[in-house]
């Protein structure tokens, strides 16, 4: 039979000589290999202190966005919830009252906005569906939690800090990602 590649090699079946059957030459060879690894640099990233940078297209936790004046973008239109293949998003809309113009950008806003992080598959379809740039996926991921309830993220967890009142926290949350 003709071989497909010429990479196969015949196994040597000849019995070991006495010296070989003491295993010592082979063992010494192996020990030299491990010894060489003492001097190699180890590739460990010490996690909580050091973090590996994510790729620019990484899809992490969702963030509810605000505009430059610190107003919420979301209008509770529900397109993200419709787009969500895992049905992780629920929301309740409410009408903006007079005097709340500095809080919400448009006349309608999300009074309740919840994402179940156990259901979410981080596909990013919500981000694509949103006509108001109100939701985007950040570069962090959901931290561990002790209860299932803890994974249902409400507005407190999702909303980005206000750029006017807390600019540092806003910059931190925004990261390198360009949205607005």
């Amino acid at each position: 039979m003709q071989a497909l590649t010429n990479r196969s090699r015949a196994v040597s079946r000849k019995p070991l000589s006495f010296w070989e059957s003491l295993y010592l030459p082979a063992i010494l060879k192996g020990m030299m290999i491990t010894f060489r690894h003492i001097f190699t640099k180890n590739p460990t990233i010490r996690y909580p202190e050091q973090k590996r940078p994510f790729s620019p297209v990484f899809r992490g936790l969702q963030v509810l966005n605000r505009d430059e004046q610190g107003r919420e973008n979301c209008t509770a239109c529900g397109l993200c919830a419709v787009a969500c293949p895992a049905e992780a998003i629920t929301m309740e809309g409410a009408e903006r009252q007079p005097g709340e113009e500095h809080l919400y950008r448009e006349e309608k806003y999300a009074a309740k906005y919840e994402i179940n992080m156990l259901r979410c598959i981080f596909c990013g379809l919500c981000e694509e569906a949103c006509p108001k740039d109100a939701i985007y996926l950040s570069e962090t991921f959901a931290p561990a939690n002790f209860t299932r309830k803890g994974f249902i993220y409400g507005k407190e967890e999702l909303l980005i800090p206000n750029p006017i009142t807390e600019p540092e926290a806003y910059a931190l949350a925004k990261g390198g990602k360009v949205t607005v």
Binding site: F18, Y23, G30, F35, H37, P43, T44
Partner: protein, 362 residues
């Protein structure tokens, strides 16, 4: 002078203090050997290893120990309770008893007394070690049998047969050393290697050392001879049913055994507390003793590193390979080594080749 049963009381106190120091020190070193093992493994595998507990992870062994102590103590309902407890106790005792005859250094002078840094210089030192080491097998045997578990029993049988097989080759390789030294006392053997102009025994007995070293690996149940605790074949081996500090004792006894066999090898083949290229007689006795102790500890540390280096390089032997190696390779080699040594000793005594052949022709 005060005597009790014709024993000098001061001598008794001196020995008790010495025993306490040596036992505690060996336990302390064993504690850090577990840490060193993990660190060496990590370095050889390009990992950082334990580094979170304390600076450089130096508190890691205490964290491990605390974890073991805090665990629930389980005695299986069908286990033989007495023997189940006796097993780890015996393993630990046997491991620690070895340190009694190891000459840790020459003597120091304190409070006007000459104190030997050896608990007992008995004239059958090395035989005592062999006796105690073979007692250590009972720890494994009893533990494995009392667990009332098939895997544990299998592991115990393996451990016992392995220890017995390799003790033979070990003893035979040792006989050549004893023929050179003409004494069974470890102190005498070390002092012979310390004589000005005398070489360490490794120069005369390279083959003997090799055999002794491999057999020591087997005696300590170290990889590649860790068949009694082969995780992948026997779940966990003879200590499968053990938990908490009883398991800790088994694991700890292994490390104490390692230290003791390193010390024995250093004494037999590498001049014990001898510092190479230095005549200890030119130093004051106390300084010489301290430096000697450091020299011996350095040798032990090097041996421990080699033990670990081997462990993280080689996979486990198959059982038939193990037995083949022991009975068909090492015992003939050890016998050959003995014969060779005997021949050279005879030649040295008789002076010439002719007179030796003449002896045979008589």
């Amino acid at each position: 002078m005060m005597t009790v049963l014709q024993i000098d009381v001061l001598l008794l106190i001196e020995k008790l203090v010495l025993i306490a120091i040596i036992v505690l020190a060996s336990l302390g070193i064993a504690l850090y050997t577990t840490f060193a093992e993990r660190k060496v493994a990590a370095i050889l595998q390009d990992r950082p290893g334990p580094e979170r507990a304390g600076p450089f992870g130096l508190l890691q062994p205490f964290a491990d120990g605390l974890k073991l102590i805090m665990k629930e103590e389980i005695i299986p309902s069908h286990a033989n309770k007495g023997l189940f407890i006796l097993g780890p106790a015996l393993a630990m005792t046997a491991a620690l008893m070895t340190c009694a005859v190891i000459p840790w250094s020459s003597s120091v002078e304190l409070f006007g007394r000459k104190i030997d840094l050896q608990i007992a210089d008995i004239n059958i030192g090395i035989l005592y070690i062999f006796g105690v080491v073979s007692l250590g097998v009972y720890g494994i045997m009893i533990g494995g049998w009392a667990s009332n578990n098939k895997f544990s029993l299998m592991a115990a049988l393996r451990g016992a047969s392995q220890a017995i097989s390799y003790e033979l080759a070990m003893g035979l390789s040792l006989i050549a050393v004893l023929m050179l030294g003409g004494s069974l006392s470890l102190k005498t053997l070390v002092e012979q290697q310390m004589q000005p102009g005398a070489l360490w025994n490794i120069a005369y007995q390279p083959l003997g050392f090799l055999i002794f070293f491999v057999c020591a690996l087997a005696e300590c149940n170290r990889t590649p001879f860790d068949l009694p605790e082969a995780e992948s074949e026997l779940n966990f081996g003879y200590h499968q049913e053990y938990s908490s500090m009883k398991l800790g004792f088994y694991l700890f006894a292994e490390y104490v055994n390692m230290i003791m066999s390193s010390a024995v090898m250093a004494c037999l083949f590498f001049g014990g507390y001898d510092i190479p290229f230095l005549d200890e007689k030119t130093l004051s006795p106390n300084v010489a003793a301290v430096l000697g102790l450091l020299a011996l500890l350095t040798k032990i540390v090097i041996f421990l590193f080699v033990f670990m280096w081997i462990r993280w390089t080689i996979p486990r032997f198959r059982y038939d390979q193990l037995m083949n190696l022991g009975w068909k390779k090492f015992i003939p080699l050890a016998l050959f080594n003995m014969l060779l040594t005997g021949f050279f000793i005879l030649m040295k005594q008789e002076g010439t080749w002719q007179s030796v052949t003449h002896l045979f022709n008589k």
